[in-house]
Structures are given as structure tokens and as C-alpha cells.
Symmetry: C2
């Protein structure tokens, strides 16, 4: 392959004319495809259908500690659900609090509580002139939406292949007392699929925050969401690492079963130090009498234990793997060597991150839309929706079928080529 950049204006125009024809042909099909959200497919949902039969009118609905799960009571989760999610999150079960169906909601509540009540006795953030959060980019749009909603200033931290740029993280966290947190998806990161290296995790644990109420928001959303049986990433457990470094209270860890059982009807949890959990329970006691214990019981009895859950995830992987392979092989075949985009092959998670030539991402997403393919909005992976280079695009291969993905990738790679050629031509013409 000759990189497009080395081609002449005439050569580019010739290729463009050919690609235009292909694009018009596919556009004419009036397709409706979606690679925008990390949504499990129907086939994946079907994997958990037997969960619907676990609790029936004949079931004993009393949990291990002797509480009737149908009634009020048990603020922070029944024992068997705590054990399951503690194992999933690799922490002691006493360091877990179970919430409702969404870890996003727990993160929102955590920020909201810090705004109005501070963190373990610190000044409420709403009383401060300035609160800042570090945001490794590209990252998860819904994280950034929460901090934006609360008027928290977000600072971009570039991702590297081993995690966020830790020199920069240390510089901000250790010197600026207005920096109160950092959003992390440490394993199979959204959208790049990067797993933080041992050194990165260790440097996180060894931070010396200028703010006593600085917290790492460690959203381990994809902890057991591997794609391959024979190759998987490993991540050091951050709570223990922080404890070892004398920073036991510095991290909140979040996770849920949303992409394990059912996205709308899973259970979410937070893991943290005893002192942090005591602070959180103070709020919980005011906020609720307790979350849905029947759903906790349903999950605990269905998966039985972490081994059951891990086995279950292999069935998810069997469905997801061919989809990721389809996207990656399309990108390789169509774009390798052209110098108009780069990407990484993740070993887990829900996304593939694509970086186009600078200034092309928005146009590519718009172009794909013309042919009926919905992508995540360009910019969404950055705070305030602003990608300074306009180059990152998140690809979510989970929901469409392999067949649909094939067409979607055709549209996507055509769009990348066409927009890139336009960009190169406008450079040549000096527009």
C-alpha cells in the first residue's frame, strides 16, 4: 500500500472517483446500521435467560443472613451478592456496598454527595471556587457528562499504551489542591481497550495528592470482559495497592453486572476502604431504605460464585470475538498502510478506538451517517465533546450481527478514505 499522502492530486482524484461510486452504491441500499453504543446484542442477552427462572413463587426468598428479601431491610446489600461482586471486583466482601442497577448512578451519587457534603468531612465541593477533575482522553462520555453537569472543570490527560500520562497526572494531583478526582477505566479502557500497566497502577497508588479529598474514580467496568481465552490482560488491584502505599482512602472502585447479566437489570457496587464506606453509608441511610434485594438474590443464585460468572463471560466472549475480529480485519485490509488512520486491537471490553488524520473525525462520522451508519458522535470521547484534534472515533461492534458489521465496516472504511482524500486534496489545493 502506498500512503495516500504520497499520491499526486491526479492519483487521489482517480481513487476518489472509484470510491465515490462504491459509496453511492452502498448508500442506495438505504441501510440502517448502528455502531454507536456499547450495547450487548440480543444473542448475548439470551445467555442469561435462565436467570428469569431462578426465583419463582416456590422459592425460598430468605437470604443467607436470614432476611426475607421481599421486605424492607439490609441497607448495603445481601451477603451472597456482596461475596459475588467482591470476588468480581477482587476486594474483601466487607469493602463492598451494593446499590441499584447502575454503577453510573453510583458514580453520579458519589460526585453529588461530594458537592453537597464533601468527602469524609472535607469542605463540600459546592462551597469551593474551583473543582477540577483529570480526564484521561479519549475516555467515556458519560463520565465527562457527570463532571460537566456539576460544573467541575475537566483537564485532558493523554492516554498512552500503558494508561494515562502519569507524569502529568502526578504534576496535577500532587500540586493542585483544586484537583479532586480522576476518571479511570483501568482495564480494556473505553474506548481504546488499554489496560493500565503495573507501573501505572503503582504510580496511581503512590500519588501524594495536594487535596485530602482527592479520589481516584476507578470504573472497572470491564474487569472480566475478556475477548480471548488464550490472551487476556491483568490489572493490579488498586485498593490493596493504595493501602500498601499508605493511601487506603484514595480510591473508589465501581463495577456492575450490566454487561454480564442484563444491562437494564443488573446490580452495581462500589468498593472502597472502611472509612470511605462509612461516609457513603451515612448518605445511604438518608437516601433509601435499601435497594432491590430480590434482584441481588437472583444474581447470586444464578451465578453461584465467581467461577460461574467467569464461565458465563466466556460465552459472551464467544459471541463478541467474531465481531471484533470482523472490524479489525476490515480496518487492516482496507486501511493498513494508507497513513490515514490508526487503531489498536483490544483484548477485551466493548470498543475499538480509531484515530483518523487530524480534522477528519466529524466529517467521517457525518459521511457514514449519509449511508445509514450511526457512529458515536465524534468528540464524544473528550470532555465537553471537544476533541482538539478532531480525530478520535469510537467503534462499538457488540450490537450488530457479524453480517451487519461487515457492511458497517465497508461504509466506515469508505468514509474514512473519502474524507481523508478530501482533506489531502484541500491541503494540496491550499484551501
Amino acid at each position: 500500500m502506498i500512503p495516500y499522502e504520497e499520491l499526486s492530486k491526479e492519483e487521489l482524484l482517480e481513487i476518489k472517483s472509484d470510491l465515490d461510486a462504491q459509496f453511492e452504491a452502498i448508500k442506495a441500499k438505504g441501510l440502517n446500521l448502528d455502531m454507536s453504543r456499547g450495547k450487548p446484542s440480543t444473542e448475548q442477552l439470551n445467555l442469561s435467560m435462565e436467570m428469569m427462572d431462578v426465583l419463582t413463587s416456590e422459592s425460598d426468598l430468605v437470604c443467607e443472613e436470614g432476611v426475607d428479601c421481599r421486605n424492607y431491610g439490609v441497607l448495603d446489600g445481601i451477603k451472597e451478592a456482596k461475596q459475588l461482586l467482591a470476588d468480581m471486583m477482587e476486594v474483601p466482601k466487607d469493602n463492598i456496598v451494593i446499590f441499584g442497577n447502575s454503577s453510573l448512578n453510583i458514580m453520579y451519587d458519589t460526585i453529588a454527595r461530594s458537592m453537597t457534603h464533601g468527602v469524609m468531612g472535607s469542605t463540600p465541593w459546592c462551597k469551593l471556587d474551583k473543582v477540577k477533575f483529570l480526564c484521561p482522553v479519549p475516555g467515556y462520555d458519560r463520565h465527562f457528562a457527570i463532571t460537566e453537569y456539576f460544573g467541575i472543570e475537566m483537564i485532558n490527560i493523554p492516554m498512552t499504551p500503558t494508561g494515562p500520562d502519569m507524569d502529568l497526572v502526578e504534576k496535577y494531583v500532587n500540586n493542585d489542591p483544586a484537583v479532586k478526582g480522576i476518571w479511570c477505566v483501568p482495564k480494556y479502557s473505553n474506548p481504546q481497550g488499554i489496560t493500565y500497566s503495573d507501573v501505572t497502577v503503582h504510580r496511581f497508588a503512590a500519588l501524594k495528592p495536594a487535596a485530602e479529598d482527592f479520589r481516584i474514580f476507578w470504573d472497572n467496568a470491564y474487569g472480566i470482559h475478556h475477548l480471548y481465552e488464550d490472551k487476556q490482560d491483568y490489572l493490579i488491584e488498586i485498593l490493596m495497592e493504595c493501602k500498601k502505599e499508605g493511601n487506603p482512602d484514595m480510591v473508589y472502585k465501581f463495577s456492575s453486572t450490566s454487561k454480564i447479566s442484563f444491562p437494564g437489570s443488573g446490580i452495581g457496587a462500589i468498593a472502597a476502604s472502611d472509612a470511605n464506606l462509612e461516609d457513603i453509608r451515612k448518605q445511604m441511610r438518608i437516601q433509601t431504605i435499601g435497594h432491590d434485594k430480590l434482584n441481588q438474590l437472583r444474581h447470586a443464585r444464578y451465578f453461584k460464585d465467581i467461577h460461574g460468572m467467569v464461565q458465563h463471560m466466556k460465552r459472551h466472549a464467544d459471541i463478541l470475538r467474531p465481531k471484533f475480529d470482523m472490524v479489525l480485519s476490515s480496518l487492516d485490509r482496507e486501511l493498513s498502510g494508507l497513513g490515514i488512520g490508526s487503531w489498536m486491537a483490544p483484548r477485551g471490553g466493548y470498543f475499538i478506538s480509531f484515530d483518523s488524520m487530524e480534522g477528519c473525525a466529524k466529517a467521517i462520522v457525518a459521511k457514514a451517517k449519509e449511508a445509514g451508519l450511526v457512529m458515536t458522535n465524534a468528540g464524544a470521547t473528550f470532555p465537553y465533546g471537544k476533541d482538539p484534534k478532531d480525530s478520535n472515533i469510537r467503534i462499538a461492534p457488540s450490537y450488530p450481527t457479524v453480517e451487519e458489521l461487515k457492511t458497517a465496516c465497508e461504509i466506515f472504511t469508505l468514509s474514512v478514505k473519502l474524507v481523508s482524500i478530501d482533506k489531502l486534496l484541500s491541503n494540496i489545493l491550499g484551501i
Copy 2:
């Protein structure tokens, strides 16, 4: 019956000695009884057991609008659940937003949002020097706990047999811009079982708040929780009444199925004007991807419609009625005419409110505890846990069996008599 107050010191001492013996005898049994919380009994929970069979692995889990309830999507509730809860709350289904398992959590979120983001564009309450809430007393401890948690100043408003003292409510709301809300349980109120009269509701709707962001927090927790087939209370619908009075945005209405299906695993909802709901959805979009739709579907399919739900409530009433009757008949038999306490017979809800002689409630609850009976803490029905007269005690008859209630009432009435005699004696002795 001769009122205790008219008895001589000697007569009182004689009665006391007799009551002491009875008390010691019952205390010797080492009982463990609980009339403290409005918790449905196991028998009541069993009424809804077939709900556990409504959704199975064979079920079609797609809701009316064509969404797979297992997956992400649908922010504010599936149509069929909205219809059911809208009918339950007597509002149009477009004026409903469904949340998770707890209306208390919705109320908490509503206050929390007002603190950090204001109400429909008003100044966030956390930026104000002073925020005040009116609290009809006696009232619901968990309401007061929320406003206390957020540092909101609470002002007692005495309840009357037709609802809160509206002269006082109007005086505060129409003149003090720091007054941002009022907690109401308008039907079968907690703990008195009072239903606000038509005139009271109308006066609420016609308020002219000094604060544009004043809201009525209308917690209609017991809207269809009648005790008697042949006599029930009726409550005017507040949203419509406010609309008629030109105050469409002045009220949030809350409810849930907690005491209809399962307390831990019901569904909660808020009803409000379009403008209020748009304000709320702005937050919801940040806070969650959506609540548990499978549980919404389970409820909608189980109850089918509001008629099904109303029929279901009659079965709850059949279980609750004998319990209320047991408590009321005990109070009547043991305490009527003694001038040491007063109470009302509610037509629905979960509580009976008892008012002792001034300065006796704490001692009565402590006395009952000596004999193994747990009551709601005296004072709990007032903001900050402070009953200025120390006289109100909330009785919750739902959880114990009728047999247990019989003994519990024996302990309670003995405790009332003994503490009252002590009080009268200390008055006589001038202590």
C-alpha cells in the same frame, strides 16, 4: 372510667401497685415484639408471590413500545408501567417518570438536585444563605431526615383533623422566600392517618409562594391503601388543582408500589408538570442510562391495570384490618376516659398515632422496651427528633401477628398507665 387526674394520691398508688404487678408478670415472659416500622407482614408479602412467575425464560420481554426490557434504553419508564402508575397516582401518563425501587430515593434526589442545580433554573439552594422547609407534625421521620441531611431549616406546622394548619402554611409560604418546600403525606398521613380535606388541598393549590422555586412535596404513599371496604377517604388530585389555580409547576407528587407488591423490590415514580419533568429528565440523563425495566414489566403484567391493583389492595386490607382493630379496641378498652392519652381511628395507611400526656412519650417507649416491646422512638415524628411536648408515639400494627399485637397492646397500655401515674404523682408531690 374516672380520669386519672381526678384520683387522689392514694388511689393512684393503689392502681399503680396493681399495674406494676401486671407489668412485672408480662416482663418476666421475656418477649420480643416490634411495633416500630410500617413494614408489611409475611402474609402480605405472600399475596404477591405469583409476581415471581410473571417473567420466565419463555417470556417475551419486549415492552409495548418495542424495546427489549433486558437491554439499555428507555430513560423514564416503559409505557405499560407508566400507565399503571399514572392511574395509581391519578395523573395523565405523560406526567409520570418511573425511577428505581424507592420513592424515598426520588425525594432525596429531588432535594439533592435542588441543592446543586436549583429548580427549573432558580439559584441552587446550596448557594443560598438559608433554605427552609415546612414540616407538618407529627410526620414521617425519613422526610425530616432528608431535609436535615442537607442542612435545611425545618419549621413545625401543627396538623389538624383536616390537614396541616393552612393559615400558618399560607403565612410562611406566601411571605418568606426562604421557604422552598413542604413535606406532605396527604392521604392516611404518617402517623395520624389523616386525609387532607378538599378545602385544605384547594388552599395548597392556591398558594402564592414568595419563592418561585417553592414546591409542595406531595408524598402520596398510601393513595390506595384503604383498610375498609365500606368507608374510605377521598383526596382531591393536587396536580390538576394546581393547574386550575395557575400554579401548574408548584407540586411534585411521589408514590411507589412498595406496600403493594414488595417493599424492597417495587417501583417508584414521580408525577409533575411537563416543565418540572423536563427539568428532572435533564438530571436523569446524566445520572443513569435507565432504571430496571424488567421489574417495571413484571409489575405491569402482574397487576394488568389499576383495577387489578385495587383488587389486590383489598387483600392487603383484609390482613391489616384485624390488626388495626386489635390495637384500636385495646386502646379503647384500656385507656378510654382515663384522660391520659388520645388517638384517632384511621381508615387506611400504616399507622395509629397516639398522644400521651405532655412529657410522657419518651418514658412510655422506654417502659415498653423494658417488657420487650420496641416502638418507634418518641420524637421521631418531629423534625430533629424533638417533640416539643414529648407526647406523640407512632404505633405500627402491620408486621406482628394479631396474637402478638394483643400482647404488644397490653404492654403498651400498661406502660402508658404507669408512666402517666408517675407523672401525676410527681405533679402531686410537686417534684
